[in-house]
Amino acid sequence: MKHLIELKVNGDVYSLAVDPWRTLNEVLRDDLNLTGTKLGCGSGDCGACTVLVDGRSVSSCLTLAVEVQGKEVQTVEGLAPSGSELHPIQEAFIEKGAIQCGFCTSGMEMSAAYLLSKNGSPTDQEIREGLSGHLCRCTGYIQIVDAISEAAEKMKQS
């Protein structure tokens, strides 16, 4: 039987009827067309599907949609609503060359947002630890770590 849930995503409220086994990732991508959140493995190993739920980073592929009823979900699309200025994390990813194929990018950015919300001045080691649940096959992570460091500086200034 489908469950009626209210999902608050990027500030918008959606009323949905979902099967109890549907993941948040499926609902975001298939039902809400928020395809900025990717699916890289489906088993919580790669981090490409990372979103924030009540401010905490979670793997949307391992989270059931019914679990997030009434909670606040933020996806990459909510980091900087389209048409608005880029978030400092996004700016830094662009400036530092932290993006190649882009498939891991939104997940990395969401984890960066979580990390920086807890720790405004992370060391490189803390950033690496914060990214340790993410995989990237293109960049070797170096420019991503640089970007998050730069984003921390930008966010301190603003």
């Binding site: 991508r29 298939d30 067309n33 928020l34 395809t35 900025g36 959140t37 990717k38 699916l39 890289g40 493995c41 489906g42 088993s43 190993d45 790669c46 490409a48 996806t75 990459v76 699309e77 980091l79 900087a80 389209s82 880029l86 996004q90 700016e91 990813f93 662009i94 400036e95 530092k96 060359g97 993006i99 190649q100 194929c101 882009g102 498939f103 891991c104 990018t105 939104s106 950015e109 950033i127 690496r128 630890e129 990214l131 340790s132 993410h134 995989l135 990237c136 096959r137 293109c138 960049t139 070797g140 992570y141 170096i142 420019q143 991503i144 770590v145």
Partner: protein, 757 residues
């Protein structure tokens, strides 16, 4: 060195903002009205005859719209070597026989994913199991069962190269050694699982969106397997989440999406799961390399005899090219006056091996580089010095292969030795520490045409408009490496306009100019770059004619495009805005738009490549003497990619190569049992994370490649080679364990240390 305004500058990627915002659309992000979801049924057994397939229950399941097996499709084999039809050994769906676990047997399309998945479980296949051959030795054994009927003996490709006098060379050598190396399979592990979406248009033509590195090759092979005309099929490459060689053939999901769209009249999308990617996906060739080398006492190389067997898995895939290239890579980097190569590509009942970043070079060069270190040690010569002594230099000829044009190899070795303070560091190593060196050379695209294209290797179209904007159309495929940006930089530089003035349309076989062989073999910067440059120069000729007429200029005046204007060289007072000169051309042509086409096909460039990239890398490692765990502390790299088009892009390629090389050396491997891949997720397939990446220092060696666009050549694929040998050599100096059998694991290190104690 030439001075550039946009080339060589840190221009942000063309697509960076879209990707940062999550607005870049990849194939699996797309949905079309009425779209069906496809799933593929793979074989659970490694080698078997198919006795029967019963799809009746699957077909009867409500919501299932189409079920197909090998019996439903045209019996046409495909493969990338169209020039040699007997190498084309694959059907989109198995006919009569399966040859590896995961070999595709049937496909379903249904109204949703769950129904498609359920339908798969309702298909009954009866197999008669055959003996499975899981390694090369079993496959080539006398009397072994033939995996393909056409190929008794299971050796599908033999490649031989010989020059000089190998026996005389060994006779004249003071020191000869023979070693056997084994290298293993690893996964491309691109983050985006393969996906394909096909739509049949109202007139019966097909449009396919697919995560591919080779839209033109997919178009052609899809046409032949569907018995359609090439240009009735349109292949569009949306954003692609990495490829590394794993997305450069026609694949079953692409065929099935197109075929089932035709059958049902509805769009059909297939997306592989990560488990399917690991279980059945292409992988880097495991190889056994037997190498005999001869040196003079002073370290001068005299002869090399290299025999390689490639474990090809169940189909040829890109194996023939890898076999061919291994022979060439074996003779690259150093001067081998006498050389012999014999490569054999062998079928086994495992997932097909294929192209993967480096395309035979990481394997070939692992053997050559380690052997070079072994020889250096035996001859009492420093590994850096023995390399400098034998290094190829500009002007060297590799018989039948090429004449090396630009070459910064010696400079790379010297630079990396200086950066790492090699000689001092070597003396001051603490217990458990080691340093090692690895070098590479790589091709800037292949000159071979086994695909047998009738088109240029790369093409570009440039449309210039009177509002000052320009539209660049190219079939070059950006799969994350950034070629859309690099192509725009080359065009902006040549036309003296800004990046923002250029719109780019790429990798759509119906609208971008025919053709382009795709993004592989490090061919795009040089080949597509030259095509863009050719088109730009033709545009300039028209602009120069128009402005000369406008200014009534003396015909001896040279004109230039610079800073958004066209002017007589060095005379900005006579400058006319770029768009205004475009308008002049158009008016002089009675309204005809200003469009130019550019092409590049390498000719008279030997048998392999028009240009070579080079480099050297040093690794510093710390090995825990109790646990055998290797900690890579630092990497130093010096490399020669000609003119650097985009420095951040090049650095990103380099860092990504180190990540992959680190995994190849230390942590990544497929765990196989009787043809089955056991580690089918990222938890058990251990790819380096941000925590594993060592600090890294880089020097770009300044060279100018005459054959490259604005002096540029390959970058990023060659760099896939040096990391493993550099780390391996460092581990040897730290522990005494000389790895001839990748990967380097704590178990192997500890075992060797115990034996040496």
């Amino acid at each position: 060195m030439e001075q550039f305004n946009i080339v060589g500058k840190d221009v942000p990627r063309n697509d960076a903002e879209a990707k940062a915002r999550g607005a870049s659309v990849y194939t699996d992000d797309m949905k079309l009205p009425g779209m069906l979801y496809g799933r593929i049924l793979g074989s659970p057994v490694a080698h078997a005859r198919i006795l029967s397939i019963d799809t009746s229950k699957a077909k009867a399941l409500p919501g299932v719209k189409c079920v197909i097996t090998g019996a439903d499709i045209p019996k046409i084999k495909y493969g990338n070597w169209r020039l040699f039809a007997d190498t084309q050994d694959e059907y989109a769906l198995a006919i009569d026989k399966v040859r590896f676990i995961g070999d595709e047997v049937a496909a379903v399309a249904a109204v949703d994913k769950d129904t498609a998945q359920e339908a798969l479980s309702l298909i009954k296949v009866e197999y008669e199991e055959l003996e499975g051959l899981y390694d090369v030795d079993s496959s080539v054994k006398e009397g072994a069962i033939a995996i393909h009927d056409y190929c008794p003996g299971n050796i599908s490709v033999n490649r031989k190269i010989q020059y000089g006098d190998i026996e005389k060379g060994f006779a004249e050598s003071d020191y000869v050694r023979e070693d056997t190396f084994k290298v293993h399979a690893v996964s491309h592990a691109y983050l985006e699982p393969c996906s394909a979406l096909a739509r049949v248009d109202l007139d019966g033509r097909i449009t396919l969106w697919t995560s591919t590195q080779v839209p033109y090759i997919v178009q052609c092979l899809l046409a032949s397997t569907l018995e359609m005309r090439e240009n009735d099929i349109r292949v569009i490459k949306p954003f692609v989440g990495g490829g590394f060689g794993g997305k450069m053939e026609l694949r079953t999901l692409e065929f099935c999406a197109a075929f089932m769209a035709k059958q049902t009249g509805r769009p059909v999308k297939f997306t592989l799961s990560r488990e399917e990617e690991f279980l059945t996906g292409r992988r880097r060739h495991p190889m056994t390399l037997h190498s005999k080398v001869g040196f003079k006492k002073d370290g001068t190389l005299v002869a090399k005899d290299l025999k390689i067997t490639l474990d090809g898995g169940a189909y040829n895939a890109m194996g023939p090219t890898a076999t061919f290239l291994c022979g060439n890579f074996g003779a690259m980097l150093y001067r081998y006056p006498n050389y012999r190569f014999h490569g054999q590509h062998v079928y086994t009942n495992k997932p097909p091996s294929s192209a993967m970043r480096g395309f035979g070079a990481p394997q070939s060069l692992y053997a050559s580089e380690i052997q070079m270190n072994l020889a250096a040690e035996a001859l009492g010569i420093d590994p850096v010095d023995i390399r400098l002594k034998n290094a190829q230099v500009s002007g060297d000829k590799i018989p039948d292969v090429a004449t090396i044009s630009s070459c910064g190899f010696k400079e790379s070795i010297e630079a990396v030795a200086k950066m790492s303070d090699w000689k001092r560091l070597k003396k001051e190593l603490k217990p458990g520490q080691g340093i090692g060196i690895g070098c590479y050379s790589f091709i800037s695209g292949g000159v071979f045409n086994w695909f047998n294209t009738q088109y240029p290797f790369s093409a570009a179209e440039v449309r210039a408009y009177s509002d000052g904007t320009v539209h660049l159309l190219t079939m070059a495929s950006d799969i994350g490496q950034g070629c859309d940006t690099a192509m725009k930089q080359i065009l902006a530089e040549e036309l003296g306009i800004k990046m923002g003035d250029i719109r780019i349309t790429s990798a759509d076989t119906a609208t971008t100019p025919q053709a382009d062989l795709g993004a592989w073999g490090s061919r795009v910067t040089l080949m597509a770059g030259n095509a863009v440059l050719d088109a730009a120069k033709k545009i300039k000729e028209k602009l120069f004619g128009a402005i000369s007429a406008h200014l009534n200029a003396n015909v001896i005046y040279e004109m230039e495009c610079k800073n958004g204007v066209v002017q007589p060289k060095g005379r900005p007072k006579k400058a006319v805005p770029f768009g205004d000169v475009v308008a002049m051309v158009q008016k002089s042509q009675r309204g005809e738009p200003l469009i130019a086409h550019g092409y590049y096909t390498p000719r008279d460039k030997g048998l392999v490549t028009p240009a070579f990239g080079f480099g050297a890398q040093v690794a510093l490692v710390d090995v825990d003497q109790e646990t055998g765990v290797v900690d890579v502390k630092q990497m130093w790299t010096a490399h020669d990619c000609g003119t650097v088009i985009n420095p951040k892009g090049v650095e990103g390629q380099l860092a990504g190569s180190i990540q992959m090389g680190l995994g190849y050396a230390l942590s990544e491997q497929f765990v196989m049992q009787d043809g089955k891949t056991l580690n089918t997720n990222f938890l058990d397939y251990k790819m380096p994370t941000a925590m594993d990446m060592p600090p890294s220092e880089v020097t770009h060696i300044d060279t100018y490649e005459p054959e490259g666009p604005m002096g540029a050549k390959e970058c990023g694929e060659g760099l896939a080679s040096p990391t493993a040998p550099a780390i391996s050599d460092a581990v040897y100096h730290a522990t005494g364990y000389r790895c001839k059998d990748l990967p380097i694991t704590p178990e192997k290190i500890l075992k060797s240390m115990a034996e040496n104690r």
